[in-house]
Amino acid sequence: MASLYVKDDAPAFSDLDQKKTEMTDKLKLREDERLAQIDQRREEKESTEAKDENTKYFTENFRSLKNEIEAKLVECEKIPKTKLGEYFENVSLNISKLQKFLADSTLYLPKYEIRQAQETISKLQNELSEMKEKMVPKKKFAFKSKKKTAAKAPEKPIEVAPAPTVTKVIELNECNFADKNNEELTKSSDELNNKDVSLARLNHCTVKLFGAPSAIHINKLQDCTILCGPVSGSVFIDNCVDCKFVLACQQLRIHHTTKTHFYIHVTSRAIIEDCNTVEFAPYNLEYPNLDSHYEVSGLNKARNSWDDVDDFNWLASDAKSPNWNILDVNKRVTTWK
């Protein structure tokens, strides 16, 4: 019927033919678009699936490793005392492996998962150190490693002998006070600014460092008062007794120190190690030029964590270390001379 009609009406045929090709072209285009869309959707879906798969793989493995460690932590109460050290080391190794696994997987993990996993790891570490504290109190710390190195030292007896003379010559930095008794010692900002300062073996002295040094090393002070401007870097204090320190700095490390008061401005966190009866108060030193010294040091005046002290001999996070305290407001010195 159609062919007949076409034969009879030639002009109409060419017109219709054109329409037909137009229409098929249009349809083909739409079909192509549709297929492309489907492909695109499929690709998208596949890639998200791959992501989900990766995350799933990670969470499953992570969880089983975590459960393993937790089980080990619970079981440690049944382990004989002599084997505990080794046992804890093993658990700690497992935790590092877990950390490594997380580090390796960060490439494809969503941020939320990474954070969650990181928190889990920190929690495990805390649990481990608490367990350690509980099962093997204190004695695991510090001195063991020293004993070991001391035992190894005799292997080179010839070199150990001349070494002390070398250290004696270079022991103190250029800018220093050392071996003084009952004196008032002062250094000005010209001598101090951007320098590293050493204080060593002082007795009953008052030291005024009114400037902005870069770093301070302090060793063996007894019954001294140290008044110091803002330090751009770190202050390291070792072996002090019955002292008062008034200082501002970025980092503060205090070792082997007792019966000492600290009036501090510290922009990170102060730490103590092998200390006891040390007390803390906020920095309250005032002298002419203090503000300009703050500028030289670049210390942020607004940030002060004077009351947030980490004790490296006290790893329990739920209880405060008994080795340090906040100095009673009524006992604080308010003006320094």
């Binding site: 798969e53 950390q99 930095n173 250029e174 320098k195 070792h255 922009t267």
Partner: protein, 184 residues
């Protein structure tokens, strides 16, 4: 896991380097790590535990472990020795009093079997301080010339200014790469 991801991971594994950064407390380990990674260094607290950073550098994936140097943490250092490719030993060049301590700790590490294959880079840090000892003086104080067991290099550096950090890391990577990734 898709095939592509597996291939990608294998490719990465090939150029993965594990660096362990140790040294006494107050040496500047965390500051070096953060400075190298372009992070803020003004708020760093003494490290209670450890930091781990994965950095991409020159096509290598660096896993850097920065472990706290406080005395009470040093006995835990050995937990991190396993499969270390490079050891970065950091020294506070202005801490003259404890040079012997740092030498003893380093000597003990170099006897460690699990670190036997590691390349050693010594950073004589804090060269920005006027009282800092030079790299040569530190080299003598630590008696580095006696080290025959490890490939080593000492560089003066400053974590505050960033001086020589890149050079040091480049050297240790090159040394490790020449030992491990010979097929490249």
């Amino acid at each position: 896991m898709g095939l592509l991801t597996i291939l990608k991971k294998m490719k990465q594994k090939e150029k993965e380097v594990r660096l362990l950064m140790l040294g006494l407390d107050n040496a500047g380990k965390t500051t070096i790590l953060k400075k190298f990674n372009g992070e803020d260094i003004d708020t760093i607290s003494p490290t209670l535990g450890f930091n781990i950073k994965t950095l991409e550098h020159r096509g290598f994936k660096l896993n850097v472990w920065d472990v706290g140097g406080q005395k009470s943490l040093r006995s835990y250092w050995r937990n991190y020795f396993e499969s270390t490719d490079g050891l970065i030993w950091v020294v506070d060049s202005a801490d003259r009093r404890r040079l012997q301590d740092t030498r003893q700790e380093l000597d003990a590490l170099l006897l460690e079997e699990r670190l036997a294959g590691a390349t050693l880079l010594v950073f004589a840090n804090k060269q920005d301080l006027p009282g800092a000892l030079s790299a040569t003086e530190i080299r003598e104080a630590l008696n580095l010339d006696n080290i025959k067991s490890h490939h080593w290099l000492i560089l003066g550096c400053s974590a505050v200014t960033g001086e020589n950090l890149l050079q040091g890391v480049d050297w240790i990577i090159d040394d490790i790469a020449s030992r491990i990734f010979t097929q490249d």
